[in-house]
Symmetry: C2
């Protein structure tokens, strides 16, 4: 693991690190905020999964999460959204290839070689950070924005017992039925739609649900709301009687100005579950 | 005035606007955060002047100021740091020309044509925003970072009665004696150092002081601290018996991770003066 940068932040440390990932076969970069309490021992950790086009850096800089994580004494992890590099497959479109890993393990050519983002976020990166930093693996939560909201919800439901709580900002809720999903799942996972089911939050909610609290925020003026399909997840949550708070926030759009407006609530929501 | 973007943020509005400036002879872009209270009438306003290489956008995205401005019900203005454009003079160095206006009115060739940033921030932009938005010109404060901290302090002391409070993050304190200052003042104002005095916070503090509270934060691990010369301003403030709080923050550097760690204090400091 290499240190890219470390800055004192709210008395703790905002670091950026890179490491050679066996899972993706590339060097991967991630951000990690450690509150001051991590100097005295392991702290709970909240994963923040980012959206299309983002790197590890976007949310780290623009979400305004550190102030609340510092207040609650919890760490934040900001993984990248895909493998990167000249030798890594890519596509001209912003929503496929580098910056658009969709948190799945690709099985199709040419993506399968490096695009193993589910395993990277679920196994590879956790192994590294729990070995290297003062983080409590028994106290984990997960959140994310847009494609990262999809990632948060699908990881939470496919790794039972891993996360105590899950939340999402403007998540892609039903990718198997959306143009933000069908294109990518076809490319990464192939045309057999039965293989998509483990990566669709609405389908997972219908089948499995989540053993803990769920919080989602979506802006009523979100310019991508037709692609997000919050109505599909809302229906599935209500039908399942899943413990959840689904909020439609009047006037807000898809931007980080929306995320920062409600990140305090999300960090507090996770902190309540993580410190319980 | 043209709207570049408007996003709902903390119930208020984060806007970006451009306008043709008579002062700089260019189109200028600025950011403006309006808290929800501005829907009901004029609100106090805090100016945030940015540092070298920054545009209107850096602090707007990375300082984490909106959350506290929303809490206090005050607006934030984020001006650009220089005129810009292909027809505008520039220099290969990051610390001269575009992105490095230093909040002075240039008198020397080729800078004098467009680099009139003192008048732009002191007169041109205020005239526009108080005409266009629900802002209370009798309740203004000013802050800034690095070169913008220099700008905040020098504007506050050269416009008596304008600002009720002034604060700064890692300000350039004594540019007439620093390599962050001598180069630029020579280029913009000429070699006669007597013409620099109105743009040096330490010299202004010795001569005039400020009729109100002053707050500064500087990191003890600031990688540019020798260029900032906080000791010069500290000496001048103490010698003058100026009302002030000067804080040296252990471990922090020059980055926005430092700024965001203490922006709550600065917004609260201004709010106390602005709502008095």
């Amino acid at each position: 693991m290499q240190i890219i940068s470390e800055n004192t932040c709210f008395g703790g440390l905002q670091g950026v690190y890179s490491h050679a990932s066996k899972t993706t076969g590339t060097n991967m970069t991630f951000g990690l905020f450690l509150p001051v309490e991590a100097k005295d021992g392991p702290v709970p950790v909240l994963w923040y999964l980012s959206g299309l086009t983002c790197t590890h850096e976007n949310a780290m800089i623009k979400a305004g999460a550190q102030v609340w994580a510092a207040e609650q004494g919890i760490a934040l992890v900001f993984p990248d959204t895909s493998p990167r590099g000249e030798s890594v497959a890519d596509d001209d479109a912003y929503d496929l290839g580098q910056g658009a890993g969709f948190y799945v393990n690709a099985t199709e050519t040419p993506w399968a070689t490096h695009f193993q983002m589910y395993d990277y976020v679920a196994h590879d990166l956790p192994e590294l950070i729990f070995a290297e930093f003062a983080l409590d693996s028994n106290r984990q939560g997960v959140t994310g924005h847009s494609m990262g909201g999809h990632g948060a919800l699908t990881l939470a439901m496919t790794l039972p017992g891993r996360f105590r709580a899950v939340s999402a900002f403007s998540p892609i809720c039903h990718p198997a039925k959306s143009d933000w999903g069908r294109k990518q799942f076809t490319a990464y996972l192939g045309k057999d739609e039965s293989r998509w089911e483990g990566h669709d939050a609405t389908l997972l909610m219908r089948e499995h649900g989540f053993d803990g609290p769920v919080l989602t925020d979506t802006g009523t003026k979100d310019q991508f709301i037709d692609l997000l399909m919050p109505e599909a997840l809302a229906e599935a949550i209500a039908a399942r009687r899943q413990q959840a708070v689904l909020r439609m926030q009047p006037g807000y759009d898809h931007s980080y100005f929306f995320v920062q407006s409600f990140i305090e609530d999300h960090v507090a929501f996770h902190a309540e579950a993580l410190w319980a």
